[in-house]
Each structure stands twice: as C-alpha cells, then as structure tokens.
C-alpha cells in the first residue's frame, strides 16, 4: 500500500489547524505565477474567499464583479472562451446556489473550463445560520454533465487541488469550508483529480469521507480500533468523477460501508456511493451527513455535534453497518 505521508498522529493535541480556503488562496497565487492565462473574478467576497492574494499580485488579471453571482459565472464562461483559465469565487450558497442554470448552460453544455470556487460550505459556517450554510452544492453540481466536483480535506490539499484545477481542461467546482480545519496531509501526500486515497488501511469496515469529514473519519477509525474494529478510511477529494475502483476494492474486502460528508446525503457523496454500490456491489451502508434538513445558527463545533457530524457519530454508524453485515 502506498504511503500517504499523513501527519504522524491525527489525535495529537498539537495538530495544526487552518481554514481550507487559505490553501486555495495560496494555490491560486502560485497558479497565477505559473500560467499567465489564469485569471480571477469575485463577487464582493475577495478577502473571505482568499482571492486577495491573487488580486494584489495580478491586478490586471482580476475582475471585481460586485454582488452579482449570475454575472460572475457567465463572465467566466466568456473569458474561458478566449483561452483564459478563469477562477470565479463566492460563497457556495450563492455560487453555485443562485447561478446553477447559468453554470449548466454557459459552462457545462458549452464546455468551457471555468473553475468555480464555493466557499463557506457546510453547517460549520456557524453563526451566520442556515441561509449561508450551503449543503446542496455537491448534489446540484454532481448531476451536471462535464462538471468535476472537488472537496479538499485541508488547506495543504486545497493548494495542490487548485494547481491541478488550473491544468484541468474541464469545468470544475471546488467546495471550501470557512472554519479552521486540522491539517492531516503533508506536501508529500499524493493528489490527483479523479483519485480516491486509502488514508488508513483496515479490513472490517470502509469509511468513505470527503472535505472536513475526512479528519473526523480518521479520528473515528482510532475510536473503532479501541473496540477492536479495524476501519479502512478512504478520502474522496474528487466526488465526481468518482474513483469507483478504489471504493469497490475496499468494500469488496470489508463488506460494510459508512460515508461521511458535511452536506445533504441525498445526491452528495453518500448518494454517489449508494448509486455505485447499489448497481455493482450491494453492501450494508450507513450515511453520515445532513438528512433533508437545514442548518441553524450556533458555534461550528456545537453545530457539528448537533447535526451528528462528528467522529463519534461516524464510529456509531460503523457499528450499525457492521451489525447488518452477514
């Protein structure tokens, strides 16, 4: 098995945390240095989405669109048509939340490689409440033909992902979280669009996670180990196209599955894995995520607990899946 070069101890009190969007900001700046075709546009949230680094370095390649998300992605489509590699950012609730049809027609059907960055996704946005906690983005973007859907697990991976997006010829969507998230990967951890990675080997149950929930999945595996259950943890930074081979290989071995995401399980990662296994390898499965409900105001950690989005809940779901295993 390939060494994933993760940090030594995910349960360490000293683990460093950083907002995932920071990695995006650094990655975009670097992508801009490497390729003069890279451009950026933002809808009045340049600092929040960390596009300010790029704007300050390349003011001539940055466009301030104002609070106009429909215009944001369609201007992006026009720039891509001219050979630019446009990154367009806002909060996920507004882009792709508000401008989905524009993305469908002018980017996906029109096959223009616009890079859409949706920041502040998930209930961990916190006090801003349900209006700003985007939960449906994975589902609505995953159903779009030609669209690649990405969710990094930490800021280090977000930086690598941004550089990979700049080289990818397809339309891409990347979901980012607001809160500081533990950094579990290192510069040597592999990343490629379209690949899922076994972050922890095990043989009893497979935990498939994306975004900020990958850290929780690794902690859940430690909890399960104390109960004598060896969980295999697969990190899925690319929700579409799904790395079916890695998932089927693991599930074929363990015979029980849990998915974990900070999004609606309907149509999200849980939906994607259920579709795959339903057709190819029906397996006892539990999905951790939001279940047809909206978030609310609160502190991020309170909300993750309130909506059953923690390592403890993933471990519980693993036991439920194991109980159904024949």
């Amino acid at each position: 098995m390939t060494d994933m070069h993760l940090v030594d101890d995910v349960r360490s009190k000293d683990i460093k945390s950083e907002p995932i969007r920071k990695g995006f900001g650094l990655g975009l700046l670097e992508a801009g240095k490497r390729d003069e075709h890279v451009t950026a546009a933002c809808a009045d949230l340049t600092g929040s989405t960390q596009m300010n680094l790029f704007r300050d370095a390349f003011p001539d390649r940055f466009v301030e669109i104002g609070i106009a998300e429909q215009n944001l992605v369609t201007v992006g489509s026009g720039m891509a048509a001219m050979g630019k590699i446009p990154f367009v950012s806002s909060y996920a609730a507004f882009s792709p939340g508000r401008n989905w049809e524009q993305i469908r027609t002018t980017i996906c059907l029109n096959e223009q490689p616009v890079k859409i960055i949706g920041s502040h996704a998930g209930v961990s946005v916190g006090p801003d409440g349900a209006t700003h906690q985007m939960l449906e983005d994975l589902a609505i973007m995953r159903t779009l033909p030609h669209m690649v859907v990405l969710a990094p697990c930490d800021s280090v991976e977000a930086e690598k992902m941004t550089l990979a997006m700049a080289k990818d010829a397809r339309p891409n969507y990347m979901r980012l979280a607001r809160e500081a998230t533990p950094i579990i990967t290192t510069a040597d951890t592999p990343f490629e669009i379209g690949k899922a990675y076994v972050f922890r080997p095990g043989q009893d149950v497979t935990i498939i996670a994306t975004g900020v929930m990958t850290y929780q999945a690794l902690v859940a595996a430690e909890i399960l180990a104390k109960d004598g259950v060896q969980a295999e943890v697969i990190h899925v930074p690319t929700i579409k196209p799904l790395d079916e081979k890695t998932i089927l290989t693991s599930v074929g071995k363990t015979g029980a599955v849990v998915t974990a995401e900070e999004a609606q399980v309907a149509g999200g990662l849980g939906g994607a894995v259920a579709e795959l296994l339903g057709e190819q390898l029906p397996t006892p499965m539990q999905r951790v995520g939001m279940r047809d409900q909206f978030g609310e105001s609160g502190e991020p950690s309170q909300l993750m607990e309130h909506f059953n989005l923690t390592a403890t809940h993933i471990a519980l779901a693993a036991h439920q899946a194991l109980a159904r295993k024949k």
Partner: protein, 286 residues
C-alpha cells in the same frame, strides 16, 4: 480581397434569408417566426459588412466575436451563416431534427462558427463582457465583440448585472444590439413588463445609446461603424425592428413569436417575400 456589397445586394440577401427561415420553420414544424424575420436585416449587415470573419476558417484568431443572446432567434443566424458560406444551405432543412448540427437553440460544440451556447435568456451580454475583458487583458485592439439581445430578454436580472459591469469597465470593444421589436410571448413588452424609458436606463448605467431602424441595413451598418468609433463608453444600438418583417400577416403580431407557419401559411409567406424581392430588384435597377 473582400467583396463590398452594395445596399440593394444586401437587401436581396436579407430577403433570401427570410425565405430560408420560412422553409426551415415549416420543415422543422416548430420554432420561432417573428424574431428571426425581424432580425434578418441586422444579421445581413453584420455577416456581410460589419464583422471581420472567415467562413472557411471559423476559428480564425483575428475574427470578431458574435453572440446571439436570445438563442431562440437562431434560425436567422443559421440561414445567414449558410448564405455566408459556413455550410451548405441544404443543411438548413435539418433544423431541430435528431442528429442535426442545427439545434433548436444554438450549441457551440455542435456547429463551428457559433461562439456560445444560448437559449436561457439574459446570459449573452455577460459572456460578451468576459470576452471583451479577455481581449483587453491581452491588449488586443483589433478584435470586436458583438452581441444581439432580445428586448423581452431585458426582463432578466442577469442582463442588468452585465450592463452594470460593462458600464463600470467601459468596455468599448463591445457593441450590444437590442432587437427592439416590442413583443414577447405573453404580449407587447410594455404590457408584460414595461422597459421604457429604455434609452435613459442604458444611459444611466454608463452606456452611449444609438437608436436606428433595425430593418434599414444601411442605417444598421452606419450605427455599427459609429459604435466602434466611440471609445469613451460602451455602445448599445437600440434597433427598432418589425417582428415578422416581410410577411404581412406576421408583422407586429405577438402570436408569431413562438410558432412556425403551417404549409398554407408558408406558401403565402414565400409568395409575399418573392414579390418583395422583385420589387427590390426593380428598384435597384431604377
């Protein structure tokens, strides 16, 4: 050497394009009649005089860029492109049929020469802005972006977002042409959702406004030349057109916005257009 067409030659072209539109819609059995007929003069002006383009080489790197924002009017674009030499006129009769490159609404990836995919309204001007911004970033001053929008389309919020941005950025390498035919599906524009004072609205967003008779080819050509010469502001041409132009029973009637003619109506329409053609010819010889 590029052929410079005399105005009567262009009028005859527009007439032939109108006849092809009728034939295409009859064969397709669905589609929009009024808008395409009303736009035939503007399209003739753009493709046979105003724009720099090469039908033999649709991806020519020095070409001007043209976007049809109200994609439902695409029969006029297909017919004009065929006349300009992008593809054989016979292909026009495949409109809206399975496997055709001529989709009911334009799709860039299907037909070389289309710059974008459109249909859902209000998005063309934003894409034109993206193109104009890209040209400015590249310091390219030789290419120009043209976009045609409907007037009913101006109900869309997205288009005002674009109008605001283009005004702010002063993108004078872009010309917008509004097909001001005063109709939309549910009725006259001023009853469905009033647009007037349309000139004042664009001006308030930082644009220079030109108004022309959009069925006068010479006036359209002149307006486009003037639009290009104005560099202080972006320019919009409010082109007043007659919906259904050239076919008496279709003119001004919003019923014809979204329906094709049946066989009898098509026969009548073609007869009228041929008579009109004879008139243009005899006037040209006077």
């Amino acid at each position: 050497m590029r052929h410079i067409y005399a105005i009567p030659e262009l009028e005859l072209k527009a007439n032939e394009i109108r006849q092809d539109i009728i034939k295409m819609l009859l064969e397709a059995g669905s589609g929009h009649s009024a808008g395409p007929l009303g736009l035939a003069d503007i399209f003739t002006a753009l493709y046979f005089n105003v724009m720099k383009h090469d039908p033999e080489n649709p991806t020519w790197e020095e070409r001007d860029l043209f976007l049809l924002s109200n994609g439902h009017c695409v029969p006029v674009q297909y017919a004009t492109m065929a006349h300009a030499g992008y593809f054989d006129k016979k292909e026009l009769l495949t409109l809206r049929k399975l496997g055709s490159r001529l989709q009911g609404h334009p799709e860039r990836t299907k037909l070389p020469g289309l710059e974008t995919t459109s249909g859902p309204l209000g998005c063309g001007l934003s894409q034109a802005a993206g193109m104009a911004l890209a040209l400015r970033m590249d310091k390219n001053r030789s290419r120009h972006v043209y976009v045609v929008t409907g007037d009913g389309e101006l109900n869309e919020g997205n288009i005002w977002e674009a109008i605001m941005l283009i005004g702010k950025e002063k993108l004078s390498n872009l010309t917008a042409i509004v097909d001001r035919n005063n109709i939309q599906i549910d009725g006259p524009t001023e009853m469905v959702m009033p647009l007037e004072d349309l000139k004042a609205k664009w001006e308030a967003f930082g644009w220079h406004v030109l108004e022309v008779n959009g069925n006068d080819i010479e006036a359209v050509i002149d307006a486009c030349a003037m639009a290009k010469a104005i560099v202080e502001k972006p320019v919009v041409i409010l082109a007043h057109t007659i919906p259904g132009k050239g076919v008496d029973f279709m003119e001004y009637d919003f019923y014809w916005h979204g329906v094709p003619p049946n066989a009898d109506q098509a026969k009548l329409a073609l007869k009228e257009l041929r008579t009109l053609k004879g008139r243009i010819k005899s006037e040209a010889h006077d």
